[in-house]
Subunit: 249 residues, 8 copies
């Protein structure tokens, strides 16, 4: 509860327009619905400027449908569901309506919201295998109202491929650099661009890539300034933060 509304509430109690009991209730009212297995956050759109997102992994289709229904009943028109496996989708599709993006394992109920932010977000990948994570980032950013430009398979082993996309890279408001293996893409992009770069290590690779650790460390140690990193394969987190950066204030 913000300072301002607290002041008003106390003034109302003082004025007698609201009873102490009701004020107490208002102060302590739960900004979430308790479904037993989950406490659905209903104030998030107010608090953080973006609706509640459902992380699908480890939830049953029934739980996902329940949370979605609760959110929509309380006024959130569009719901983003991430990490929804094909197995979950096969069951969920009979429980509710939504669009499913299999490569990104993303579902969107209520349709894609309108674009509302001015700048563009550029999503690059080092290789073809990084595309699923990149799509998770790109769709998340689009869901949150951003225009997204995709530059896939522009890894550093063939620099000319990246160079041919320099216009897109140079005009973005934020860049998301998605790469596995040695993750050098983040440093190269970070050295060229003049906007924030969010690096997403992927678990693509084998042997000493250790499921993404190699790319993660590489990105954390980037010699380019202006690069920050999210968890391995966390396309959603990158898309979400990119949208926050791109948001008009």
């Amino acid at each position: 509860m913000e300072k301002k509304s607290l002041e008003q509430l106390l003034q109302q109690v003082s004025d007698g327009t609201i009873s102490p009991e009701k004020a107490l209730l208002a102060i302590r009212e739960q900004p979430f619905e308790d479904l037993g297995f989950a406490k659905v956050d209903l104030h998030r759109q107010v608090r953080q400027g973006a609706g509640e997102v459902i992380y699908g992994a480890g939830k049953t289709p029934e739980q996902i449908a329940g949370i979605t229904a609760s959110l929509r009943q309380h006024g959130q028109d569009h719901v983003l569901i991430t990490r929804l496996s094909k197995e979950q989708h096969e069951v969920l599709k009979d429980l509710m309506e939504y669009d499913y993006y299999p490569e990104a394992r993303i579902a969107i109920a209520g349709g894609m919201p309108e674009k509302k932010n001015a700048g563009t977000i550029c999503v690059c990948t080092g290789g073809t295998s990084d595309i699923p994570v990149a799509e998770e980032a790109a769709l998340t950013a689009e869901f949150l109202g951003n225009e997204v430009v995709r530059c896939y398979d522009v890894g550093v082993a063939g620099l000319h491929r990246l160079m041919s996309h320099m216009d897109q890279v140079m005009s973005a408001r934020v860049i998301i650099a998605v790469a596995g293996m040695e993750g050098a893409l983040a440093s190269v992009v970070g050295g060229l661009a003049d906007c924030p770069v969010i690096a997403v290590p992927t678990s693509v690779g084998y042997g000493a890539s250790f499921g993404g650790i190699s790319a993660l460390l590489s990105m954390l140690n980037s010699c380019a300034s202006g690069v920050s990193v999210v968890n391995i394969d966390n396309g959603f987190g990158a898309g979400y933060q990119a949208s926050m950066i791109n948001r008009d204030r």
Copy 2:
């Protein structure tokens, strides 16, 4: 070399106003000065919107003075030097003029530049021992033209301390969360704020903190959306990216 100037150059060759030899020279001209031990980047301000920064660790005071001189000769008025130890400072202070901030191990030659970005950057720390890293972030952000608000020692073991700074947290354009040990500050701040959070793990702690790994992993796995992470103790990187995010477009 950008597409536009290349077009102009080729047009000039076609017009005969410039010889092919000179055009070749222009295309290949080095945008850096080679000092032997270092290649000083002179176009960075143009390319990335912020002047070259000198990473002091592992450089001799003489090298630092030389690079600073080269930068200032080529028109960069203010120079930021990071990771300048007290030992280096004792020698460097006789070679050139600058302001030294011992806690942050930062030197600024040419004075602090003027504020140019509109929003504020809020720098929080979990404890007292995290302050040196936080100051590196804060001074970097100030050097790059931002207003910085400091909220130190607001770690999660006493939540009321953080709560009493909610106004500052809620009104920032970017938050830098600096914490060692379990690094939970980033998640708590990330859950409350509606702006991007850059998390900086610090090497504060002992035993199973493993020199900052515990905080690093904690921050990478943050359950709050909108959090990204930089290297352990990398206050500079956080301040630099925060400034990029805060920059008006």
Copy 3:
């Protein structure tokens, strides 16, 4: 063999009421039954105040049934079996009678014992996916005679959810904090509560959560005093120790 009974036994030898041979036998008598594949501990209830528990993982249903029978023949009415997979359950259910709790993978033969300890144990989780581990803890504590309060899905990314359960948190004799990912729940709860907190890291998460290492390190480095930690996913261990703490002396 305790000091006291040893004194009595020697006195009996001295009195001639027992022969040296029999005394030797008594001293060396095995307080367990040797089933070949296992040595069933029959004195544990005497020695540690709680009956022998069967760790189901890696045992055949036949072995589990055999150990249970041995315990019940020697006077242990209620038997707790942990980590009993659904596959084992499908076979075991035809060999003996018990109640099965599939989410917690726990079986209880002989029915749930009566409540015997005065205080309450509060079991919290950071998210929905941590519930199976939490249930292992909660059922273990209930089996050992404790009243358990469950506060699930109260992770730090939405602090208001935890705040709305403060009464339960503040009135517990012990709190078990179950969380994966960054495991910050333990620190936040530990900073608020005035009772011991047993933290259980879970393997929930992906990428740099490294199967629970991130949460484990986070909890070990908690800046809150009064927090100790058990193995990743070890709900049983947390429930067992919580019961020991809650026991009246």
Copy 4:
């Protein structure tokens, strides 16, 4: 702020015995003193039943003296300072009065408080080198009002040494098992005792002990039920939690 006092406060506003402005102030009043470099927690004794403790590592003697003075001014008579190195002590001893325990690196200002809890806490170590960590635990527990029994150098390589202390081990309310190297002490004690065991891995050892990781992992994987673990060398944390467990309710 607890529910009860909030109710009272709102009633007072309604009654007109307090103005809305003052109520707002009371609700938001900081329960800590902001010294700039630290926010001293003044409500901790109320909130958690034990006064604020000063973690000395990384603080200057002047900061420590300042925090101590602030605490004592606000009514905390006894102050515990941990991790106070001999170097810090050499300076601090001229700034304020306290008793210094060099082996445990602990300082106590205002004298040792009286014993207030009924049970005893037994502190065991595997070897001689583990004693400093054990003393940190023991002095912390004594500071918090507990009777402590010390059983040092009873490691598992000579089981008879532990066996000769079985009376003390069996009669404790809590046991703190401090061990480096392979850390087996925790499992052996945990298998014998019928009370909670808090295991403290120490950084004693060399080679593959990896600064305490070996003991830490060993203790986390203890096959004995009723064992939980704190950070490497965290004697304070163990002593603090042991006191919480021993506290009369």
Copy 5:
């Protein structure tokens, strides 16, 4: 674009034999074909002396067939496909023609090119289980025009087996040492041979071999000079670099 052709191009612009627009186009022309999911490198044979290789892992059979077709249309007669699983092969074999080597998981379209380099490459393995990785190296080297000698199962636990192949070891231009477990083969071979040794750790082993880390570290720490290392199981990389070394200049 190389310096020389740039000079010529600029001269042509100056001569008027080419328009500035066409020159610009030539300078920026993409040396790759963009298939959407991949950017096929068409200049690699020019730039690096070896055609583009397709890394099969994580690509659909359709994507592989598409890239192969694109390469062959642009004049690359022979195409090497690595990491082609049997599952992918079952589908791919109906889409295009090629020879499949199941043990090495390699496919070659357009037939094996002719031998063109003078020296021989000797591929050794420590055991039988390392042969698949060794075959990936050997076939890659053969594809790139080299003569390959195979010495399999000559690990250090039976030195006489290696000794009986000394002639082959001593006469090679490059040696590829493939070994799992403790990876000692690289050091022993490196100590005997007078040519470069490329060591390939394999994931063969169990327990503390940690999926090849043991062999990797062993090889990186080789006390023999002249040994370098590639990623775990990276037979292709070893064969490729060996060919580069063996190439006549």
Copy 6:
């Protein structure tokens, strides 16, 4: 080739009873048969006092049958095959005759050899789940001619179980201590026994046991003298070395 036979050979050359060519051949003759996929060691019984053993993992049943046949043709009557999975066994049993021990995954062709060493080898396990590894050790030792005593499920969480086997522990010539989880068994046994202890960490456990790393580190750091360690789950290695120690000289 040993010094002695070399002397004889040279004497024969000098005497003219053997030609230089034949001598050269004799010196360089291969003491193994090359089957292409494997070089079967035929002199091992001479060189190391024990016949060649076949490590079954990663070999096809046909390869195993081929190597066995080669060994038996060259005079090795009994052949031990380790790590023979049930899947391999299903095929191999139609290719050759042998006894199969499924729990230990061991096959013995030619029957179990006679006992030839005087002392006994005691194999202990911490729990029931460690038995497969222990059986691999025990059968290996029996195959090599030793008498083996088994003490299973005597882990340190119930010390009385181990104590009741003290006679066997005290009278062994070598002890093999097999344990997962925290691996404390090795230290406790090592502190009691007066003979060498070979510790075998097992991958039994979960969470922070990290597939046996916890037990491995614990055993390497054993505070008991006289303990050495083999690889995780390496029952064969322990049985083999135990036999070497037990061998009469």
Copy 7:
């Protein structure tokens, strides 16, 4: 207390030749002297066939002198002190008499005991830098009554050096292989010898040797049978176990 003496004691109680109180005392009598900071094991020579050894690291010279005096008063003529740094030695040499071996950091009070075991122990090192650890092993073995042969600097990068010592290697009863870096010596020696090999990884190396981890893993994964491993730099442990193996039974 052994079974036999317990029988006798009980018989004496039955006979009345000893009172129950005295019997109790005898059973529970401490086989160690409690010096406060240490519990000196006085029965070890009886129990394990070798006297108590003092691990010097982390003990004050005064503590070491006190333990030595206690041991010698109770009849242990020769005392071995390991890990005695030069700094400790400078103080200790004024407190008691002993011979100091600086390279091995070993002190022996009471002179070197006589040789009592028949076989020889061969100690090999990979390089010159491994000699201190090797000397710790060699002196320990000599102290325990064994003849030791030293083969230093015979690492695998120059196999001919090891080959020239084959006679010594082949005639030993036990071999101790001491090596850092890639630790391949253990495998090569293990493949040649027909006796047990105890491998000692050393912390010699840099970079990816990680303080001995590389050698440790290499030795644990040795493809040679008959190799076991002790902790990094644990020369004492290897010498102690080697002596146990060499002991006549």
Copy 8:
């Protein structure tokens, strides 16, 4: 001993021109001098085409002088000493003559040998701090008779710096890429060059660079073909292998 000389020797025995005893001696003669602390390899120049190199770390100046003298007496004119610290140099310079290169910590006795190989070796570094390791590589390569081109401070954060050296990169026979932090230089160079690239990770960096692990993993996972890796900071190994590759055959 090579096959050829063995044939000749046997022929001589057969001819009677040499006695069997002398032949035995010749066969077994040590190709090294045993200095007690080291076995100096005198045949290395014959065997591997390059003289013995002295690794200075962990050797006393007296030992280094002794080995150097031994080598020069046996005909090796030029001796390379690596890892010679300034402290060792201060003593060694009074014991023998040599040139000292402090940055690279290299000493060369007998002067720099003449250039003998045709191609050039290009040594690149990512930053200024990587120069010491690069100089170790460059001087080693020069000592072994190669022409070396240095391209320092051309890291990927400012790609134009590397681009301006493309001529040198493209014309080298081998490239050594030396970089710390994220080590991306190796991939970028590897993608551009058509010759083998030896990557040297350095320990330059802080935090999550983990003393070079980040760069090491990055280089092992390079997406560019033709890249192999040596140990962290192992400039010598890279220079040595580069020379082997550059050697005319």
